[in-house]
């Protein structure tokens, strides 16, 4: 799994690629929380386009990020979900909880 | 309980080839020999099993943490509470009584020589060297040794041990190690407490009947004691702790199928622990006697 962040205007975009599993999800969590808590980004976009598999710990990390973003009054947006990731979120009934966008422009504007 | 299980083992027919020609007595003699041999082998195998279990528990306690495996201190602390702190009331009462009894018994003999003031020394030495560790062990066997066997035995019957294994958790590391650590720490502590309560029990008699004041009794007890007396008792208690853990857990692991088997394991754990604790006591007492310079 690879993870990197970049700025686009006021938003921070977190690009993740590969599989998110039990052993690397703590890194996703760390990057997310750092962007929200330390950089105080008003909008964090998690780009999951290149993610083919996400397990429960990955989902849990996203949930934690969402909770922190709500507390801080910023926004967490998921971008470009593959079908596999979409299935996992739907199964956990989280597809309605997260803000999901298909394109980067959408995610930046919405 | 193979050590005690002399009866009920039939000799293999191979060894009774000469049944026709042998007299009844000779046949009996062969059978008895075979039985004794079997029982000896069973006992050795049992002791081997205990040693293996104790060794693995010691490995997970002392070696594995240095190799990056986590030692769960929280679980050990919980066990220590159950094994140690909760045993204090009953242990205090029992060893206090034992102290009084010791004082009465030694006074019975000492009175004849008009040496009643030696009562404090007699009680202190008997308590620290022998009865403190032993009574502590007996109380801990009754409270914890049996509980270990029951807990692990129940887990075996309900497939919880299998569940641990399928979760890639080692049952010895997960279940035995915290108990082992708790016992190795708590038994010497409890023994020290038991020694103290025994001496207090002796003081009750000393003050009431032997002309001591409370402080003079304590001072006289301390004067009679050498550091060696206390360390001897503590080393014994350490060995008792390991023995009780190994037997309790071993009996738990060897529980068969069904709830009644848990009861059997628990009983076996108690009987076997008492037997082995006394055996260990004998070995160490003899060892200290022959090696101790006076």
């Amino acid at each position: 799994m690879q993870i990197s962040t970049r700025q686009s205007g006021k938003a921070t975009i977190v690009d993740v690629s590969g599989d998110i599993d039990l052993y690397n999800s703590p890194e996703v969590r760390k990057v997310l929380l750092a962007a929200l808590r330390e950089e105080r980004a008003p909008r964090v976009i998690v780009n999951l386009r290149e993610v083919r598999y996400i397990d429960s710990s990955g989902v849990a990390s996203l949930v934690e990020g969402l909770k922190v973003s709500r507390e801080l009054g910023s926004r967490l947006v998921l971008l470009g979900l593959s079908q596999a990731v979409r299935d996992v979120l739907e199964l956990s009934r989280l597809n309605k909880v997260f803000e999901v966008c298909d394109t980067e422009e959408q995610a930046l504007r919405s | 309980m193979p050590v005690l299980g002399l009866g009920g083992i039939s000799a293999p027919s191979l060894l009774c080839i000469r049944r026709d020609t042998c007299g009844l007595v000779a046949e009996e003699a062969v059978e008895v020999t075979v039985r004794v041999g079997r029982a000896t082998l069973d006992s050795l195998a049992y002791l081997g099993g205990l040693a293996r279990l104790g060794g693995r528990a010691a490995y997970f306690t002392f070696v594995a943490p240095w190799q990056g495996r986590r030692l769960r201190l929280d679980r050990a602390a919980h066990q220590a509470m159950v094994v140690g702190l909760q045993a204090l009331p009953i242990l205090s009462l029992i060893t206090f009584f034992i102290g009084v009894i010791l004082a009465l018994q030694s006074a019975y003999e000492l009175r004849k020589f008009g040496a009643l003031h030696y009562v404090s020394g007699a009680v202190a030495i008997s308590m620290t060297r022998e009865l403190g560790p032993l009574m502590t062990a007996i109380v801990v066997i009754g409270r914890s040794g049996s509980a270990f066997a029951a807990e692990i035995g129940t887990m075996k019957v309900t497939e919880e041990l299998d569940a641990l294994e399928t979760m890639a958790l080692n049952p010895v590391q997960f279940l035995v190690t915290p108990k082992f650590l708790a016992m190795v720490v708590m038994l010497p502590c409890l023994t020290t407490w038991a020694d103290l309560m025994g001496i207090l029990g002796g003081a009750l008699f000393g003050v009431a009947k032997a002309g001591f004041t409370f402080t003079s009794y304590l001072r006289s007890s301390l004067d009679a004691l050498y550091l060696r007396d206390i360390s001897t008792g503590l080393i014994k208690s350490l060995m008792f702790g390991m023995t009780i853990t190994a037997v309790g857990c071993h009996e738990g692991f060897s529980t068969g199928a069904g709830a009644e088997e848990v009861g059997r394991s628990t009983t076996a754990a108690v009987v076997m622990s008492i037997f082995l604790v006394i055996a260990v006591d004998l070995i160490f007492t003899a060892l200290f006697y022959f090696t101790g310079a006076h």
């Binding site: 599989d19 599993d21 039990l22 052993y23 999800s25 703590p26 969590r29 083919r52 598999y53 397990d55 429960s56 710990s57 989902v59 849990a60 990390s61 949930v63 934690e64 596999a84 299935d87 199964l91 956990s92 009934r93 | 129940t154 887990m155 309900t158 497939e159 919880e160 299998d162 569940a163 294994e165 399928t166 979760m167 890639a168 958790l169 060897s254 068969g256």
Partner: protein
């Protein structure tokens, strides 16, 4: 994931059993059986009591050592791997036991969290979220702080499934999921298995003697009788199978009397097995 087409992955064996024999002392329970569990399929091992089906399942998760033969799980022969390698394989599989086998001294939530706490470096909050997700998935949301003894039989099994799923396994094993449950609760467990099968890309092996349940959840059914495989195939293939034992087993619903007599006869004449100690 490997660059295979979905179809190739579908037919790939995740478990391969080859000529497996297993004996307890004198008595041989499994007489040299061979079969595969394919990736993402649900295989139901069906058999009467004494057929060796539970022993087979225990062998698949390495709780029993084979006397002969091979069991390949994810490309490793588990009859020969080291303890450390077996542990790595076991982290990828979940097992739900007959009675649940929840740890009585831990709450339901702690039970589910246990493998995560022991095997991963996840934060407590992350683990807590995973635990709640898993309990939600098995329909036990809100029962996190209950002790196992406070749960009914069906709820215990659901909690056990949540625990088996905690590490997101690739394989899930069920030992008699409906045993000891009333028909309605048992149907609920069947539905749970169906739901998991649909939602997760996961291989499921279920051991059961319940015919209806087997035909509801299985992609393929393996019929085991006295330690031998009598039939192995899809539900349709099994229905059309003409082997007398298969017919006997499948017609059990229509003619229960015949079968009870056979079971009774087997019970009366079965070889006495001394206690193992």
């Amino acid at each position: 994931m490997p660059s295979m087409t979905d179809e190739a992955q579908q037919n790939e064996a995740i478990v391969s059993v080859r000529d497996l024999r297993l004996r307890f002392g004198e008595r041989e329970i499994l007489h040299g059986i061979s079969f595969d569990v394919r990736r993402y399929e649900t295989l139901v091992i069906l058999g009467g009591s004494g057929s060796g089906k539970s022993t087979l399942l225990r062998a698949l998760v390495s709780l029993e050592k084979p006397s002969a033969g091979e069991i390949w799980v994810k490309g490793k022969n588990i009859a020969q791997v080291s303890g450390a390698e077996m542990d790595e394989i076991r982290k990828k599989l979940g097992m739900s036991f007959q009675g649940g086998a929840l740890f009585g001294s831990l709450t339901v939530g702690e039970n589910v969290a246990l493998p995560l706490r022991e095997h991963t470096k996840l934060e407590d909050l992350t683990i807590q979220i995973i635990v709640r997700l898993k309990l939600e998935q098995v329909g036990l949301a809100g029962f996190e702080d209950y002790m196992p003894s406070q749960l009914s039989g069906g709820m215990k099994k659901r909690a056990a499934v949540a625990r088996a799923m905690a590490m997101d396994p690739e394989m899930l094993f069920f030992d008699e999921p409906s045993a000891g449950l009333d028909p309605i609760i048992a149907a609920g467990i069947d539905n749970l298995i169906l739901k998991l099968k649909k939602a997760f890309r996961i291989s499921i092996v279920v051991v059961t003697h319940e015919l209806a349940s087997a035909f509801l959840i299985a992609d393929r059914v393996l019929l085991l009788d006295k330690g031998d495989i009598v039939a192995l195939g899809t539900r349709e293939e099994l229905r059309e199978n003409t082997h007398p034992r298969v017919r006997q087993f499948l017609n059990r619903i229509a003619e229960p009397e015949v079968f009870e007599e056979l079971d009774y006869l087997q019970m009366l004449t079965e070889k006495h097995r001394p206690r193992r100690r």
